[in-house]
């Protein structure tokens, strides 16, 4: 069992502006498992996800990852003056890889024909799709997604669900936050952040 755990959190606690967001939070996300983080606005969902991705270091407890983390946050991380292809080429390059084709990922996300469009001219939903295309270009086994369904249309939501399910079937792990009922992704666990009382199921 332990060899199948990709991400383990032990006794996490985090405080923001003298307010305790969560404490004593422990869970383990295994291969092929999807976990959802839920809670009201401002409860600390983004803080928890950033912490798991290794972006936030102001916390107590331990996070162990058996592999790299791919992160898609609220902010798309796209440069407006660069085209969709150039933005993805930068990301792929940062991983030190040259063997992947950004165009294939873009057309998988329904952006065929928009490869050479500067990102500032794309709609919010299209920008989100470009950001999500990074997941297809990154071999990281652990995906941490903050509100991945925000700004997506119905087809986009269905597409992302397909991509996530395929990732899980390939033995990846997924941790995401959403306010939507994501029926398309089979959940293995739920982390509910409600004030100080945090429930893991």
């Amino acid at each position: 069992m332990t060899t199948n755990v990709l991400l383990r959190a032990e006794d996490l606690a985090c405080e923001r502006d003298e307010r305790l967001l969560f404490s004593g939070l422990s869970f383990a996300v295994g291969r092929g498992e999807a976990w959802r983080v839920e809670g009201p606005n401002g409860a600390g969902k983004t803080t928890l996800l950033r912490l798991l991705a290794g972006l936030n270091r102001l916390y107590e407890g331990r996070v162990c990852c058996a592999g790299r983390v791919a992160w898609v946050g609220h902010r798309a991380g796209l440069k407006g003056v660069l085209t969709a292809r150039e933005n993805l080429a930068w990301y792929v390059g940062l991983q030190g890889r040259a063997d992947v084709d950004p165009d294939a990922a873009l057309s998988r996300l329904g952006l065929r024909g928009f490869e050479d469009q500067p990102c500032e001219q794309l709609s919010a939903g299209q920008q989100k799709r470009v950001a999500l295309a990074r997941l297809l270009l990154d071999p990281a086994p652990i995906w941490v997604l903050d509100e991945p369904f925000a700004a997506l249309d119905v087809q986009g939501v269905a597409l992302l669900e397909q991509i996530c399910v395929a990732h899980l079937q390939h033995g990846g792990a997924l941790i995401f936050s959403t306010h939507q009922e994501s029926a398309g992704i089979p959940l293995s666990g739920n982390i509910a952040i409600q004030g100080t009382g945090t429930i893991c199921e």
């Binding site: 991705a53 290794g54 972006l55 936030n56 270091r57 102001l58 790299r68 983390v69 791919a70 992160w71 946050g73 609220h74 902010r75 798309a76 991380g77 796209l78 440069k79 407006g80 003056v81 660069l82 150039e86 080429a89 930068w90 990301y91 792929v92 390059g93 940062l94 991983q95 030190g96 890889r97 040259a98 500067p118 990074r134 071999p139």
Partner: protein, 231 residues
Amino acid sequence: MNENGTGGSLLRAMYAQFRRDLLMAYRHPQDVLNPIAFLVMVITLFPLAVTPEASRLAEIAPGVVWVAALLATLLSLDSLFRSDAEDGALELFLLSPHSLFFLCLARAGSHWVTVALPLAICAPLLGYLLSLSPHAMWVMFLALLVGTPLLSLVGAIGAALLAGVQRGGVLLFLLILPLFVPVLVFGAGAVMAAQQALPYVGHLALLGSMLALALALAPFAISASLRVALS
């Protein structure tokens, strides 16, 4: 995943960052042209404000040109990491599997190439307006060539610390200016020594040793500052 950490893939990551910054400077040339415009304005106003007399202008020229070039660099540093922090690109930069040390080096290098190097080329030429002699202009160019990468590297530390701060402009000046003082002193000192036909290599050597130190240490400080700024 297997080739992560190998030299070729690290170079590819550095190249990707460098290429992106150059591409952005090309698409958004104001970032390159504004510091040069600032430099031109300051240097052309000095003869009008102080004196048109060539001998007195030549006396203050090394200091004026260096101060103008230094402030122009400082102005450009403010946005070095802030825009990346605002649109989320900095998060992806930090999550790269490669050593942040070398990626920060690439970022500082691209800042030098796009902003500081054009300044180092323009500033000595503008010194002509202040009656700088050709020999002094040449030394000025050499001093700026060694001094400006130092400004980029050290300035990037402050820019990284303030990446998450919305209006960090004045704070950046306060943080960075004291660190720029030695560069200014030895940079302007080299040109003044050349004007008086004194040996100037010592000043350049000191700048060079500071640059070697900054190349080895500043990327550590930049990457640590970025992690703090994003937490």
